[in-house]
């Protein structure tokens, strides 16, 4: 029987002929933790009476969620992480390096065909470069660090095919918001997504990361794509490791195949307080906005800021509205400076914060006030997500956020293109 990409990668890493539903113990190629989860992972590691990690070269810890530290409690966690990394000779990306899900592929830690875990739910991001990567909790990370392995239930796969060409003003973010709205926040629970189609082939690798990043928002275990030439070139530029790209068999068995015509979409918005509460932008045009945010592991890449800069060039963020930007990594920030996007955005009124998660998870860098509306390029709009349960978060593409902060209300980006 033919196999999906997920079944093949889990077979390769467990030495078993693995099919959906099987439980396998598999060898990990890489694993990551971040500052919100590594503290607990270190506690579990110690409780397991472990002395040494199995292979320090396969682990990285990234301080990105509350970085630099906003308070004493976080400082204590950061200190504990730094000491553990030094003790175990683990690669540490300290404050300002960037978001874990940008760092891991960008610094070459994963390549096509790999099996990767991360103590962060958006670890599924690397699916865009043909990696089976999935989020796990802190104790699973501790077990992975100690043994180099983890157990997995081999998932069924839901295949999503995007036909047609992306219209002007429609981006990868709009595709994934639309899909989550269609199938719901638990539409792919325990399944792998395999994402393909002409609209994907046309996209840059950076744009593809946005889609894989949000696979978890419909409950999926991973959001994996094939390794085409664009992926192989991207990986060759970022990693010295040898890729082992995996294709699905022609007769692979899918739980379901969904076809979506990309050419027919309009810009998408996820309304408060769930990611699957989506609509076309026209339904909410005119909603007042007090804060815009462009950044995160979903949409904090060079191309995202270029799109925003093109819209904001020579314009200003509206009075009564703020715009915060956070490059997903230091390298991206440097590229933005070279490219001019950084200057354009700051001139338009944007406030640039440290490369990292920025205000995404509500610990610092722009907590909204009661009753305020935020439009953000992040992946979650849960109540309280940005630190205040009495504020409202709308999710959109960088273009829609840029257009909206010009007007101080939700706007259709297509009129600015």
């Amino acid at each position: 029987m033919g196999k999906t990409i997920a079944e093949k990668i889990l077979s390769n890493h467990s030495g078993k002929d693995a099919h959906a539903g099987d439980i396998v113990i598999a060898d990990l190629d890489f694993m990551i933790g971040q500052d919100g989860t590594s503290g607990v992972a270190i506690d579990s590691f110690r409780k397991m009476s472990a002395k040494k990690v199995a292979d320090p070269s396969k682990i990285a810890i990234i301080i990105d969620h509350s970085s630099p530290s906003p308070n004493q409690g976080v400082s204590a966690i950061h200190k504990k992480i730094r000491e553990f990394a030094a003790e175990q000779k683990i690669k540490l990306y300290d404050i300002g390096c960037g978001v874990c899900h940008q760092i891991t592929p960008e610094q070459g830690h994963c390549v096509p065909g790999d099996l990767v875990i991360g103590a962060d739910s958006h670890t599924c991001t690397y699916g865009a470069i043909n990696v089976f990567s999935t989020g796990i909790g802190s104790t699973d990370l501790a077990a992975g660090m100690i043994s180099g392995k983890l157990w997995f239930k081999v998932p069924e796969t839901l295949k999503v095919v995007y036909k047609g060409k992306l219209p002007k003003g429609i981006y990868s973010k709009d595709l994934i918001l639309n899909l989550i709205g269609k199938i719901g926040a638990d539409g792919a629970t325990y399944m792998a997504l395999e994402i393909d189609g002409d609209a994907i082939n046309e996209m840059s690798v950076d744009a593809r990361f946005t889609i894989s990043n949000m696979a978890i928002e419909c409950g999926a275990k991973c959001g994996i794509m094939k390794a085409d030439k664009k992926v192989m070139d991207w990986v060759a530029k970022h990693s010295k490791r040898k890729p082992g790209p995996i294709e699905a068999d022609k007769d692979a068995k899918y739980k379901q195949v969904i076809e979506i015509d990309a050419a027919k979409l309009e810009p998408q918005i996820a309304k408060p307080h769930t990611v699957d509460n989506t609509c076309g932008v026209s339904e909410v045009v005119g909603t007042p906005i007090q804060q815009g945010f462009i950044g995160t592991c979903t949409n904090g890449r060079l191309e995202d800021f270029q799109i925003a800069a093109n819209i904001l060039k020579g314009k200003k963020v509206a009075d009564g509205c703020r715009l915060i930007i956070a490059p997903a990594s230091k390298d991206i920030m440097l590229d933005m400076i070279k490219d001019g996007a950084y200057q354009t955005l700051v001139e338009a009124g944007a406030v640039a914060v440290t490369p990292g998660c920025g205000p995404c998870v509500g610990t610092h860098n722009g907590v909204p006030s009661d009753g305020e509306n935020v439009i953000s390029t992040a992946n979650r709009n849960f109540k309280g997500r940005m630190g205040n349960p009495n504020s409202f978060i709308y999710l959109a593409s960088p273009a829609t956020v840029a257009a909206s902060v010009i007007e101080g209300k939700i706007a259709d980006p297509r009129k600015y293109l």
Binding site: T37, H65, T139, D140, A143, L150, W151, K153, R380
Partner: protein
């Protein structure tokens, strides 16, 4: 073993209770003591939740409980609030895994008829959840073998210590 306690429900928000609601990012990043974390459990959905829980109570919810982030602080806060198990129609996968890793049962069952304060009895061996208040028996979904092993060992930490690695 039979566990007894009251149902603690979220009638205004039964489905898609995410990990941000279970324990907000504002706390998980700065509080390391699980007992202190527990005092903030479910706070954004119900500011009095921690106060109304009695030892052994069950959280009872609808679909997709625990969706969102991978934070293990979510099941940890529930466990340290003295909740004995979470019972829901369905769970998000990372949360589900984290529960068993911490030795907290996550039980799939049809929770539609259960109301706040109902007296429940959970018998995992028999696969039965009794609602004493409503005088009803509900069949629970079988707990996968891997999860049973982890629970029996008292969570993944103890499992690892006992077997010196995975034995699932």
């Amino acid at each position: 073993m039979i566990q007894k306690g009251k149902a603690r429900t979220f009638p205004n928000h039964p489905n898609d209770i995410n990990t941000d609601y279970i324990i907000s990012g504002r706390y998980k990043f700065k509080i390391q003591d699980p007992n202190e974390l527990a005092t903030h459990v479910m706070e954004d959905l119900d500011p009095n939740f921690f106060k109304r829980v009695e030892k052994g109570d069950f959280i009872v919810a609808g679909n997709n409980f625990g969706c969102g982030s991978s934070r293990e602080q979510a099941p940890m806060a529930i466990k340290y609030a003295n909740i004995s198990a979470v019972i829901a129609n369905s769970f998000a996968r990372i949360f589900y895994r984290n529960c068993f890793n911490l030795g907290l049962p996550a039980i799939e069952a049809d929770t539609s008829g259960i109301e706040e304060g109902d007296e429940l009895e959970l018998d995992m061996d028999a696969g039965i959840l009794k609602n004493k208040t409503k005088n009803k028996e509900i069949k629970i979904a079988p707990v996968p073998k891997t999860m049973q092993t982890l629970l029996a060992d008292g969570g993944l930490v103890e499992h690892f210590k006992k077997h010196d690695g995975f034995k699932v």
